[in-house]
């Protein structure tokens, strides 16, 4: 009986493991397009000229490949993970605080870089970035990256603010009025890292070296700072357009923001942005392929398409990001030759890119992400 049992177990184990390796294997050859492709993306990442006819990098792709693109926009990284967990999508433009969770949950598959001719043109700083490469295996192609800048009202600030303290500490703005009620903060748990980044310069005794790896004491200090900030913030933002409205009608004068809002507001409002001295957090997004994708061929075609200098430059001009392909920085009409520098190309080293906080970290044990989620809801609720 025993040998039989042992054999059965061995067979069962073998089946289980082989199943896993099969699931983790990348596509070897490309076939014809399946005719459709669905992408989960940040708002403004996949434009087909509906907002502004000059910004269209979908129509051409559809005509060339026959893959009809449908886009589902998501407002936060958590929403992207949730959508990918639900399934039914092929690609996602995941930021670093979502990408590793997707890999850990087996929701995305490794990609075969040999099938993407433009892989070699990618910025060397991004080719093996930790947010899409696990144990030397690539789980997607870099899309674009960018900073979370400090956006401010130029009528309130005649000179650009130099520090994030304008949104963290109670103070009077240069126009003599207190900052309470005139600042905003991002409505996502990852914002705790912005507080930690601020503490890195202002409370060095805490010994924070990485804003995404915080031990209990460092984490508690960051939450305290955010509780102070709660007394200053009227409304937290997660919808870019509500933030734009708040800068116009609500008297908001300073907030962490994306270059996207800055570019839209600067067109008709006294608004500008700056890289404060503490440095900034940022995001670097990866186009990742769902593990159960029904349209892998179209998906590979899109990944190749997304790396072309034209697309990279157009996205960057639209969203205020930096291309992952350096060739896109020159000769793009919409981005112009100064675009990359304006959006932070040279500041790569100053940006702390979004990453999912995990229990294991260099300093031993850190506070994991799920606690960031529940505690940030608490902080906003006044706890």
């Amino acid at each position: 009986m025993k040998p039989v049992l042992r054999t059965c177990t061995a067979i069962a184990m073998a089946t289980v493991f082989s199943g896993q390796t099969m699931a983790a294997e990348a596509l070897q050859t490309l076939g014809a397009g399946e005719g459709q492709l669905s992408i989960v993306a940040w708002a403004g990442y996949i434009e087909r000229g509906e907002t502004d006819t000059a910004f269209d990098w979908v129509t051409g792709f559809e005509e060339a490949t026959g893959c009809k693109v449908s886009v589902k926009t998501a407002a936060t990284s958590d929403e992207m993970v949730a959508l990918m967990n639900e399934g039914g999508f092929d690609l996602v433009t995941a930021s670093g605080d979502a990408s590793l969770r997707l890999v850990a949950g087996n929701r995305v598959q490794p990609i075969n870089t040999a099938l993407i001719p433009s892989w070699s043109t990618i910025d060397e700083r991004l080719q093996n970035a930790a947010w899409h490469t696990v144990d030397g295996v690539h789980y997607g192609t870099p899309y674009v990256w960018g900073p979370n800048v400090l956006m401010y009202n130029t009528e309130v600030f005649k000179e650009a603010p130099t520090s994030w303290n304008v949104v963290f500490e109670p103070m009077d703005f240069p126009d003599g009025q207190p900052n309470a009620g005139r600042v905003q903060a991002y409505d996502g748990p990852i914002y705790i890292a912005d507080a930690a980044l601020y503490l890195m310069s202002h409370k060095p005794e805490l010994g924070i070296t990485d804003p995404y790896a915080l031990n209990e004491d460092q984490y508690a200090a960051a939450l305290d700072l955010l509780r102070t900030q709660r007394t200053l913030v009227g409304r937290y933002w997660h919808d870019a357009f509500i933030q734009i409205d708040d800068f116009k009608n609500e008297g908001v004068a300073a907030s962490g923001s994306w270059p996207f809002q800055v570019n839209l507001l600067a067109a008709d409002s006294p608004v500008a942005s700056v890289f404060p001295e503490e440095g900034v957090t940022g995001w670097a997004d990866t186009t990742m392929l769902h593990a159960d994708s029904k349209n892998p061929n179209c998906a590979y075609m899109w990944m190749e398409h997304s790396l072309s200098p034209k697309v990279q430059g157009d996205v960057s001009a639209w969203f205020g990001t930096v291309p992952s392909v350096p060739a896109a920085c020159k000769g793009n009409e919409l981005l112009t030759d100064e675009g990359c520098a304006n959006n932070g190309y040279e500041n790569f080293d100053k940006i702390r890119f979004w990453r999912t906080p995990t229990t294991q970290c260099e300093q031993g044990e850190c506070v994991p992400y799920y606690r960031w989620v529940s505690d940030y809801i608490g902080v906003i609720g006044g706890r």
Binding site: E86, R101, G105, N249, T356, V373, I380, G381
Partner: protein, 316 residues
């Protein structure tokens, strides 16, 4: 040739005829056939989906990958509801619902009384129209309009400034907890918009119940020497109470479940509806979202049970 009526009619030919005979012989079958589709609808689509949701709340989520573990039943999600931050959300929502209901009742009663007792003919039609009109335009449009009305640089602030009574508004906004930088980012703003949006649901049931108060009872009351105040307290109010409770069911439950108003107008502090939306849509934590959903169901269950004892359902 003349036909003579037969005592027993001949069986009619064809399937339809047979069916019609069957229905005539078994009246119960016809009722069954009529009732089955709506019962199936209620059972599967409504109760079934509700049960599926409730069942979800007994699972828990893997906190890093965000994948729900369907292999074990656990009460972990319910335990999470008791965390201070989540308890705050529940208390905040219930208090807001209660206040909105109270304010709606106080404002709606005189309007309903006017509509039921004093307005006649085409004015009555106009009154109905006035009450119903806000329900005809899109809910979102109304809320965004309110965001602009209440904004720091909005119409209301402008009116106060123009009348040189801006200090009144500042004074109101300086109240801790419910105040804020402007009406649109304070609890007061959320409260005002809730009261505005749900008002018709309070006026109509109260009006219906007031119309059923017999005039001769009120006459009798004053004949017997009661002051108008006494008549109101002892006759009109008790008879209108079922209508008020029926209206309060609407305002209370609608406030309890709404997630759009507090998201656009308010201080970013979550309400139950938003917590459900955030947990299932944003965080992918369906078990916790389901557990949150159970809270208003339980509260409304208790509320309806109390309302039934007060006879509220006679006024619907």
């Amino acid at each position: 040739m003349t036909t003579t009526a037969l005592a027993i009619t001949e069986r009619r030919p064809g399937l339809l005829g047979w069916l019609s005979d069957q229905f005539w012989r078994h009246p119960g079958m016809f009722v069954l056939l009529l009732l089955t589709p709506p019962l199936l609808w209620l059972g599967i689509v409504y109760i079934g989906s509700l049960l599926a949701l409730l069942f979800q709340s007994f699972f828990a989520i893997d906190e890093f990958s965000g994948i729900v573990d369907y292999s074990t039943l656990t009460l972990k999600s319910y335990a999470e509801l008791l965390r201070p931050a989540n308890l705050d959300i529940i208390v905040r929502t219930v208090v807001m619902s209660a206040l909105v209901t109270l304010a709606s009742a106080v404002i709606a009663f005189p309007i309903a009384y006017m509509a039921a007792r004093y307005v006649r003919g085409k004015w009555k039609a106009l009154f109905y129209l006035g009450i119903m009109l806000p329900l005809w335009s899109s809910y979102l449009v109304k809320i965004y309009a309110w965001k602009l009305i209440l904004a720091k640089e909005g119409i209301l602030t402008w009116v106060f400034e123009s009348l040189h009574i801006g200090f009144v508004l500042d004074g109101i906004l300086a109240i801790p907890v419910i105040g804020g930088n402007s009406l649109s980012v304070s609890y007061i703003g959320t409260f005002l918009v809730f009261v505005y949006v749900w008002m018709p649901f309070m006026i109509l049931p109260i009006q219906a119940s007031l119309e059923r108060v017999p005039v001769n009872l009120i006459d009798a009351s004053s004949d017997l020497g009661a002051t108008p105040q006494q008549t109101f307290r002892k006759v009109i109010f008790p008879l209108a109470l079922p209508g008020i409770i029926a209206g309060s069911i609407f305002t209370f439950s609608l406030t309890l479940g709404d997630y759009i108003i507090p998201q656009i107008i308010g201080s970013s502090r979550l309400f139950i509806g938003q917590a459900v939306y955030a947990q299932q849509g944003t965080a992918g934590n369906i078990p916790l979202a389901a557990a949150f959903t159970v809270v208003p169901i339980v509260i409304m269950g208790l509320y309806l049970w109390m309302a039934k004892r007060q006879g509220a359902f006679d006024a619907l």
